[in-house]
Every structure is written in structure tokens, then in C-alpha cells.
């Protein structure tokens, strides 16, 4: 027994390099497409080239006649299976039956029509090419505003108006606020359709074991446990015979927060052909058949007093849902409504959503999911109001922020903001930028005829999704902590991280709590047969909810370890440190391995204590968390070409307490890149017939290394009272703060020409035309 144990430095709060990385850096990590099984077949999906069409006939014979082909399946084969699930529910929501394969019609380009299964992926591709499908093209509609105009083609013939749902929410007395207004600012603001572009496309391997009548499904997903429940439901099989394993996931950004037709299809096929089957999405399929994000047309109205006091906000939100509901499709725009007041003390808000069917692939959660749209809207509106009032946009924001003494702050949309100091990040960003000097520089630039802009956006987001009442399948998260008989620690988390780094942050937490080295902790996730249960990683919840579950599991386990330790050291209480239980009075200690051995051998147990050192905690969060921040962007617009140069990018984010600053910085940078992508380059374009014109990465531009400015990232820290670590979540912050800051900056640059608003993406030609036309769009 050692007699002295020095207290190690705590790991939480330190920039620790990731424990995930060695396998990723050496190419030995196993992603979905790396999985191989004896006898494995490959599936290739035949998809509709049309946006809308009647299927007149399908001839699978030419495919079946080709070498290596095991089977071809069409809509008729799966008609009796369940539908692709939509978990969101809204009053009066119209839910089209979303078959795994098209029946008599196709509703969007990329709609799966048939699946070919062959012994090798080359042969499967050849055979898929040989399937003959005769279509009768039908009129399509791809623009949500055109879809709800009179005479538009009906996406689903049963609902001629193309309206999937309407949703009204009101807080306070908006009508009175608008009567009291001295200034009303109105603007139509769009948030264009985006393609998530996780660098790894989706994929599934299904392995049927006839002896057990069980199925193992490998899926590149963010939600293994939900996948298991939902796929079992589609197939009508017992959930305990379905195991979902999530291998390494190459990015998700919400696009893998879903259950798609292919998971159930591959499960069905594996069972039918009695062989393992793999399907890996091509990039074009990823563009055509994996969810898109955003797709908003928002009509905002902001009422204010001349002194800048904001009174009321109205929003009419036309949401482009696409042809079907995926898992959360109709719920995403409701998140925009919840966050529409931003950080401001609005008492009166009214929102009306019209969810619209179009002949496009469904929209659903994409990084930020509803909040970037809301923030973009309110932050553009506040800038427009500032201009209308001839007020500095900083001053206007500071005047209307919720005050530090007002938390928890009940919003007019029914939320309760947990904690905040909204002026702090803004002031920090201004100080860092040298705001007064920047304005002087801008005045000088304008004298010289240069178009320099300073854009500010402050944002709030709704994170740590989120109390179970708010989420269809529950909003809790779970964690199990085990001290193995050897004394090593295993953490099993229901969150399913895919690049966020919880294998490291959770190990930091466990190491600190148990007083062990980080290398003694292993974090396991993504296997429904191993991990107790879970919801998944999305909505900036991995650490804020999953971490809290771990926190409590650790507390419970610590209590048990202490009991064993105290019994073995024959003392009243012990502390955990240096991988041991320490009696602080005597300095005597006993190692975890010894404690664990005693706990598992169970020859002698402390009073009222079970054998073993395992603890599981399911944590139900009492509220969302509400991170916030301020982004400041300096731009210069090339008068001749319309090209935008970002001169400075300052991001000050408050995500509460930080567990690993290095990883938080990574989240901010990546988030900003996706926000900048929306602001400047990205846009999914369908033509009127339903053709996706941005069908590959050759036409859809995501940021490359040299597109990105240097991001000056820093933080303020306002702990959240919602969870015991005080964390708020940071996965989406960058995306949410970025686009309004950039657009505000470019509009500011063009303000001398009379420009008031520009819709994204701010392509050089769009800007050039505005300049050429003296500021008119």
C-alpha cells in the first residue's frame, strides 16, 4: 500500500489532444465501407431521374440476367413493410406514406425505385444500369412559394394545396405592439436550401443470422438506438433481435440524424437473400437522396419605438419540406419560431409557419437546424432597424438585450433562457476588433470609394436537446461507468459522437472524477448490444446532456467505490485520487484494482451494497441550454467584380464551461466554415422540373482551405445552471453566428449605394449587379 498520493492536476478545462486520433491518423479506423463479411453482396439503387413522374413499367429482367446478380427488388416487394418514419408530430400534419421504394409514382429526383443486389459492386452498378423503367413525367414544383400559389402542380395528388401543415404561435399582444410602433421594418429573407455534405456518404451493412433470426445493422448514423427501434418497427421484428452498430462516422451535421429507406431496405434484403449486404451511397445519391437543410422564405416585420426599443416581431415562414417527411422534417421550422426573438427582450411575437411539399428531397436537421434561419432573420432585421433609426447596430443591440438580472428569462415563444450575459461577448468582440478605429477606417475607405463593411451578429441558440417533453423519442441521455476488475475504467455513452471528440472529453471527466489517469479510461459508444441505451449526438447535446448523464453515473460510482475503499481501509471516508482510495487522515491508500477485485470477488461487502463497480445513469435535463455569442466580420467588396474579401473574422462565443478548449475551438472553426458556406457559396438548385442542377461537388461549392479567413476565436463563460458541469454546447454556434454577421458586413459595405438587404449566397455576380444598378437588386 502506498502511503502518499499526490493530487493530480485536473484534466477538465485543459487542451488535451484526442484519444480518437491515432486510429484516424493511420488509416486504421473502420468506417462503414471498410466492413467486409464472408459472402457479402452489394446493393445498387435505381433512382428516379425525374422530379415527378408516374411509373408506367419496370422491367428487371435485363438486370437479373446479368452476371453476379442475386436479386432485384421493386416497390411491389416492399409494399407491406412499414414506412420511412417521421417522428415529429404537429396538429393536422399531413404525413404521406413514405414507402421504402416508390410505388406507382416518384416524387423527387433520386426517389428510390428499385434495388439491385449482386456479388460485387461493379456488377451491381452494371445491373442497375440495365433495369428498364418507363416513366411518364408529370409537372413538378420545386419552389415553396410557387407550390402554394394557385394552379401549382400537386406534389401529392391527394393534397392539391401542397400544404403539409400550418402552425401558429403567439406570445404577448403583437397587434398592440404594432399599433404602438413608431417604426416598422419589413423584409423578405431567404435561407437557401443547403446540402450537408458529410465527407463520408451514408452507408449500411445488414447481416442476417437465420439461426438466431437476428439482424445486425451497421449504419453510419448519429442515432444508433433510435435507428434500432425505428427499423425494427418498419420490418416488424422484435427490437431485441436487431443490433445496430455505428462504426467510425465520417461526419453527419444532422444528415445522419435520420432513418432512411436504405437501412430498412438492406435489412429486408439481407434476410431475403440470406447473405450480408452492403450499400454505400455515391456522392450524387448523397446530393439527391440524403436530406437537405434550410429552405426558408421568411417574411419578417419588426415594430419599434424611435428610441430603438423593440416592441414586437412577426414572422411568416414558408418552409420547403420537400416531397416527404424524414425523421424531423416538420419540426425543424418550429425551432426557428422558438428562437426568433434572439437575445432580445421581445414581449410580443407572432409566427405562422406554412410547411410546403415540393418535388425535392426532404429537408431536415442540418447543423443548426432552424436556429441559423431564425438568427439570420432577426439579426438582419435588427441591422435594418438600426439603419432606419440611424443608430449604431451595437447600441441598438445593447439597448434591447435581456439583462443579466433577468435570468431565467421567459421568452414570448415560451422558452426559459437559462443564463446569460449577452453584452459580454459583444463587448469583447468590439474590443478585440477595435470597433471605433474600424469605423474611422471605414469612413476613410468610403471617401476613397472603397466598399468596406463591418458586420455584427449576436446570436442565441437552443442547445442540449433537450428535455424529453420537447423531443419525440425522449431528450434524456444515458451513461454507464464500470471499473473493471483490473481497475481500468470503461465509460459507455448513449451519445454517439462522430468527430466531436467525446472519447476524449468524457475520459477527461471520468479521469478527474475517479482520480485516475486518462489512459486508464476507455469510452465506448455506438453499439446497441454494448451500450445500455441512448438517444444520440445532435443539437449540441453530446456533452451537455450525455456528459451530464456521465457526471451523475460517475457520482454514483464514486459513492460505491468510497464504500468499498472505506471498508477495506477500515475508515469512515476516503477520497479518490491517483487511481486509489485514500484515507486522508492516515494517508493510507488502496488501489482501484484492489478495490475492484474486492467488489467483484464479493467475499465481503459494505453494508447495503451490491457486488461490482458499475453504475448507470439516465439523465433527464430540466431545460435546454442557451449558448450565445457575438461574431464580427470586416469585409471589403471589390467594386469592379463584386468579389467579397473577408478581412477579419472575430468570434466570441459563450458556451458555458469548457471541458477541452482545443476541441471547442475546432467546433467553432468548423461551424463558421459551414456558416460561411451558406453566406457566400452554397446553394442547392433545382430547376422547375425537379432536376437538381447542383448534382455533384463540381457544382456545389463547399469551402476549401483558401476560402477561409483566419478565425479569431475567443470565449466568455457564463455557466449553465441546467447541468452540473455548467456546459452549454458548442457544436452549432459557429454556423449560427456566421451567416448574419457576414451578410450584415457586406450590406454595410454596400450601404452607401442604398443596399438594404441581400439574400444568400452572396455570389460575386449578384453583388456586381447590385453595384452596377446602384444598389438595386
Amino acid at each position: 500500500m502506498a502511503t502518499t498520493v499526490s493530487k493530480p492536476d485536473l484534466l477538465v478545462g485543459k487542451s488535451i489532444r484526442r484519444r480518437e486520433d491515432p486510429r484516424l491518423l493511420t488509416g486504421t479506423a473502420i468506417y462503414l465501407d471498410d466492413i467486409k463479411m464472408p459472402g457479402m453482396h452489394h446493393a445498387c439503387i435505381v433512382r428516379s431521374p425525374h422530379g415527378a413522374a408516374r411509373i408506367k413499367s419496370i422491367n428487371t429482367k435485363p438486370a437479373l440476367d446479368r452476371p453476379g446478380v442475386a436479386a432485384v427488388f421493386t416497390g411491389a416487394d416492399i409494399a407491406s413493410l412499414g414506412a420511412v418514419p417521421c417522428a415529429a408530430s404537429l396538429p393536422g400534419l399531413r404525413v404521406p406514406h413514405h414507402h421504402l421504394l416508390a410505388q406507382d409514382r416518384v416524387y423527387y429526383q433520386g426517389h428510390p425505385v428499385a434495388v439491385v443486389v449482386a456479388t460485387d459492386r461493379y456488377l451491381a452498378a452494371d445491373a442497375a444500369d440495365a433495369v428498364e423503367v418507363e416513366y411518364e413525367p408529370l409537372p413538378a414544383v420545386t419552389d415553396p412559394e410557387k407550390a402554394i400559389a394557385a394552379g401549382a402542380p400537386a406534389v401529392h395528388p391527394e393534397w392539391a394545396d401542397n400544404i403539409a401543415f400550418t402552425f401558429h404561435q403567439e406570445g404577448g399582444d403583437t397587434a398592440q405592439a404594432f399599433r404602438d410602433a413608431e417604426v416598422i421594418v419589413k423584409q423578405r429573407i431567404t435561407s437557401q436550401r443547403l446540402i450537408p455534405v458529410a465527407l463520408e456518404t451514408r452507408g449500411v451493412v445488414a447481416d442476417w443470422r437465420p439461426g438466431e433470426k437476428s439482424l445486425t445493422l451497421f449504419s453510419s448514423t448519429q442515432i444508433p438506438h433510435l435507428m434500432r427501434s425505428l427499423v425494427a418497427g418498419i420490418l416488424g421484428m422484435p427490437e431485441n433481435l436487431l443490433r445496430v452498430i455505428t462504426p467510425e462516422v465520417g461526419g453527419g451535421f444532422g444528415s445522419k440524424l435520420n432513418v432512411y429507406a436504405e437501412e430498412a431496405l438492406m435489412a429486408f434484403i439481407a434476410k431475403r437473400i440470406n447473405k450480408p449486404v452492403k450499400w454505400v451511397e455515391s456522392r450524387r445519391e448523397n446530393f439527391q437522396a440524403t436530406i437537405h437543410g434550410r429552405g426558408h422564405v421568411d417574411y419578417f416585420e419588426l415594430a419599434a419605438k424611435r428610441d430603438g426599443t423593440m416592441l414586437g416581431l412577426k414572422l411568416k415562414l414558408i418552409a420547403d419540406l420537400g416531397a416527404y417527411h424524414q425523421l424531423l422534417t416538420p419540426a425543424i421550422p418550429t425551432l426557428s419560431v422558438l428562437m426568433m426573438p434572439g437575445l432580445y427582450r421581445f414581449k410580443n411575437v407572432t409566427a405562422d409557419i406554412v410547411g410546403v411539399f415540393t418535388n425535392c428531397v426532404p429537408t431536415d436537421a442540418y447543423r443548426g437546424a432552424g436556429r441559423p434561419e431564425a438568427t439570420h432573420g432577426i439579426e438582419r432585421m435588427v441591422d435594418m432597424l438600426a439603419r432606419e433609426l440611424n443608430m449604431d447596430p451595437v447600441e441598438l443591440r445593447l439597448k434591447n438585450f435581456v439583462g443579466n438580472d433577468e435570468f431565467p428569462f421567459p421568452t414570448a415563444t415560451g422558452l426559459s433562457y437559462d443564463s446569460g450575459n449577452y453584452a459580454a461577448p459583444l463587448k469583447q468582440a468590439l474590443a478585440q476588433a477595435g470597433y471605433p478605429e474600424l469605423r474611422t477606417e471605414q469612413a476613410q475607405a468610403r471617401k476613397e470609394g472603397r466598399l468596406m463593411g463591418i458586420g455584427i451578429a449576436t446570436y442565441g441558440e437552443i442547445c442540449a436537446l433537450g428535455p424529453s417533453a420537447a423531443l419525440p423519442a425522449g431528450g434524456w441521455e444515458s451513461a454507464t461507468v464500470k471499473i473493471e476488475p483490473s481497475g481500468k475504467v470503461t465509460v459507455m455513452t448513449g451519445a454517439s459522437p462522430h468527430g466531436q471528440g467525446e472519447e476524449t472529453t468524457f475520459a477527461q471527466m471520468a479521469a478527474d472524477a475517479l482520480g485516475v489517469g486518462i489512459d486508464d479510461v476507455l469510452v465506448v459508444h455506438g453499439d446497441t448490444a454494448v451500450v445500455q441505451y441512448g438517444i444520440g449526438t445532435f443539437g449540441s447535446r453530446g456533452t451537455a446532456v450525455g456528459g451530464a448523464a456521465l457526471f451523475y453515473a460517475l457520482e454514483e460510482l464514486k459513492a460505491k467505490v468510497r464504500k468499498f475503499g472505506a471498508m477495506m481501509l477500515d475508515t469512515d471516508s476516503v477520497t479518490l485520487s491517483g487511481g486509489a482510495c485514500v484515507d486522508e487522515k492516515t494517508g493510507k491508500s488502496i488501489s482501484f484494482a484492489e478495490v475492484a477485485a474486492a467488489a467483484y470477488h464479493a467475499k465481503k461487502l459494505p453494508p447495503n451494497t451490491e457486488p461490482g463497480l458499475v453504475s448507470t445513469h439516465f439523465w433527464e435535463p430540466p431545460n435546454f441550454t442557451f449558448p450565445f455569442g457575438a461574431h464580427l466580420v470586416v469585409t471589403e467588396v471589390d467594386r469592379e467584380t463584386g468579389n467579397i474579401e473577408i478581412k477579419r473574422y472575430i468570434a466570441v462565443d459563450d458556451c458555458g464551461k469548457i471541458i477541452n478548449p482545443l476541441l471547442v475551438a475546432g467546433q467553432v472553426h468548423g461551424g463558421v466554415a459551414q456558416g460561411l458556406g451558406q453566406a457566400l457559396w452554397e446553394q442547392a438548385v433545382y430547376d422547375d422540373t425537379g432536376q437538381l442542377l447542383t448534382g455533384e461537388l463540381t457544382d456545389y461549392a463547399i469551402p476549401k482551405a483558401h476560402f477561409m479567413p483566419w478565425i479569431e476565436s475567443s470565449h466568455t463563460c457564463t455557466p449553465s445552471p441546467v447541468n452540473p458541469m455548467g456546459v452549454k454546447g458548442v457544436g452549432e454556434a459557429g454556423t449560427i453566428g456566421c451567416s448574419p454577421a457576414v451578410v450584415n458586413s457586406v450590406v454595410d459595405a454596400l450601404a452607401p449605394l442604398g443596399v438594404r438587404h441581400i439574400d444568400m449566397p452572396l455570389t460575386p455576380e449578384k453583388i456586381w449587379k447590385m453595384i452596377a444598378q446602384g444598389g438595386q437588386a
Binding site: S282, Y700, A701, I702, W768
Partner: protein
């Protein structure tokens, strides 16, 4: 994204290659940076592919008698990094450095690129400004034509079936010439929305010679000889570039309209000329 089956041939000599392709039924693989993606998309369905990548006699860069000779299978990287090209035709090295990305430049070849004649390729602007000649051979012919004759239309060149590009011959730029390649890349594909290559010579503080080649703007690359003449007769750059692309068809796509492309050609021609002048001695 799987190509259709095809037969593959990798001749070791030019003579062997020319014999193989004489029938005109073969598709030539010369790096494959455009061809391979098209085959994967099944937009190109060749049954016979002849890979020129194993013919050493097509891969050289050498200067002799005031002419820089570049074998067709020289990669963009070879050209970008060649001391001879940098010394004798720096404009071409600069244009090569703008093509695609590092991996594409390591595989793609100048012969393959120009034979494909993508209207947004980078080389043609430089080749026109450099007044390059292109040597074309087949099993029973050998001819040398001006670059301006080579580029006929979008994806259309003066190559006849059975012919390949053998060599590019660029006159060595005079010491003291200024040059510049200005490019507006498409943010996704990296192709030139517009690319402008210029060469200038100064004499007595004035522009004595100007060459302007433009790619990306229209269906085929062109030289703007009117702007060149105006510059050579003393018209100031801003004015001389005002009419660039007039009368030429302009491409239009989701990213940039024809009008905008034409405007960009003018703006970037002026910028390229100014840079070239600062580089000229």
C-alpha cells in the same frame, strides 16, 4: 460510380500507339483528369482505351533554337515546376499552376487537356497569348498548326480521328517581357469562369507588343487582337480592354451569366495587363 468495361492498351512507343489508334475507334487516356470522371459517370463509354502514359518519348520539355518544345504527356506539375518553362515561357508555368489542384496537376497532361478542349480550361489562354504551335501526328501524317486554329469550339479541336497532339512549340519569350495569367476560378470545380493570359513588351515607356488570350468566357478560347492593337497604338489599358469579348459568344451557367463573364474578362484583362507591365522591364 463505376465505369463500363473496356479494353486497355498501354503502348510503349509512339509508333505503336499511332498504329493502335489509326482506326479512330480508340479513346486516348492522357492523364485522365477529365476522361476518368466522365467514364465513372458513364457519360463516356469508350470500348477501347489507349493509355499514352507509358511512352517516354512524349514526356519532355526542352528549349532549342528559340523554341520551347513540350511533349504532350508533360504533366501540369512538370510544366509549372520546369526551370526551362519558368525561364523561357513563364506565362505558361503560371497558367499551369492555376489548373485544378495539386493532385490534378500531378496527373493531368497538357496534351490531354488541350485535346479535351474544355471551354473553361486554363492552358488555352496562355497558348494563344504565347502564339504557340501545336504539332499533331497520326500513323501517316505530321502537321503543325497554330493554337488559334487548334481550338475550334467547345470540346472541339482540329484533331482528326487517329491523330494525337505530339508537342507544343512556344516561342521563347523575350527577356524583359511582362506576363500574367489572371483567373476567376469556379468555387466548386476550380475551372476558369474566366481566365486571361497576357504578354506585353515595353519600349520607351509605351506598350510595344501586347498579346491577350482569354478562356472560360466563351465556347472556345480567343485572342482579342482588337484590344492588342489598341494597346500597341497607345490606348490606355482601361479603354483598350473595354471592348474585350465584343462579338464573341459568352457562356452562361448557374454561377455566372454571359454578361458577367464578359465583364470579368475585361476587368481581369486590365488587371493582368497592369501586373504584366510591372513585371516587364
Amino acid at each position: 460510380m463505376i465505369p463500363q468495361p473496356f479494353d486497355y492498351y498501354a503502348p510503349a512507343t509512339l509508333r505503336e500507339a499511332l498504329a493502335m489508334i489509326a482506326s479512330g475507334e480508340h479513346k486516348i487516356l492522357a492523364g485522365g483528369m477529365s476522361l476518368v470522371p466522365l467514364m465513372k459517370l458513364r457519360l463516356a463509354l469508350p470500348e477501347h482505351v489507349v493509355d499514352l502514359g507509358r511512352i517516354p518519348e512524349l514526356n519532355y520539355i526542352a528549349e532549342s533554337g528559340g523554341v520551347l518544345r513540350i511533349g504532350a504527356m508533360s504533366t501540369h506539375h512538370d510544366i509549372e515546376s520546369s526551370a526551362a518553362v519558368r525561364a523561357h515561357c513563364p506565362l505558361l508555368a503560371e497558367a499551369a499552376g492555376h489548373i485544378g489542384d495539386a493532385q490534378v496537376r500531378n496527373m493531368g497532361t497538357i496534351g490531354g487537356s488541350i485535346a479535351h478542349a474544355d471551354p473553361s480550361a486554363d492552358y488555352p489562354a496562355a497558348l494563344l497569348a504565347l502564339e504557340t504551335k501545336i504539332r499533331i501526328v497520326s500513323a501517316n501524317s505530321d502537321r503543325t498548326i497554330d493554337a488559334a486554329e487548334f481550338f475550334v469550339d467547345a470540346f472541339t479541336t482540329a484533331l482528326e480521328p487517329g491523330e494525337i497532339v505530339l508537342e507544343l512549340q512556344a516561342p521563347v519569350e523575350d527577356q524583359g517581357e511582362g506576363y500574367c495569367y489572371e483567373k476567376v476560378p469556379h468555387p466548386a470545380s476550380g475551372f476558369a469562369v474566366v481566365g486571361v493570359a497576357v504578354r506585353v513588351k515595353k519600349a520607351g515607356g509605351k506598350i510595344a507588343m501586347a498579346r491577350i488570350g482569354i478562356t472560360g468566357m466563351g465556347p472556345r478560347p480567343f485572342r482579342d487582337s482588337m484590344a492588342e492593337k489598341m494597346l500597341e497604338s497607345g490606348t490606355e489599358i482601361g479603354q483598350a480592354t473595354q471592348s474585350i469579348g465584343q462579338g464573341e459568344e459568352a457562356n452562361s451557367d448557374l454561377y455566372a451569366s454571359g454578361d458577367y463573364r464578359r465583364h470579368l474578362a475585361r476587368v481581369h484583362a486590365a488587371r493582368a495587363l497592369r501586373t504584366a507591365l510591372t513585371r516587364a522591364s
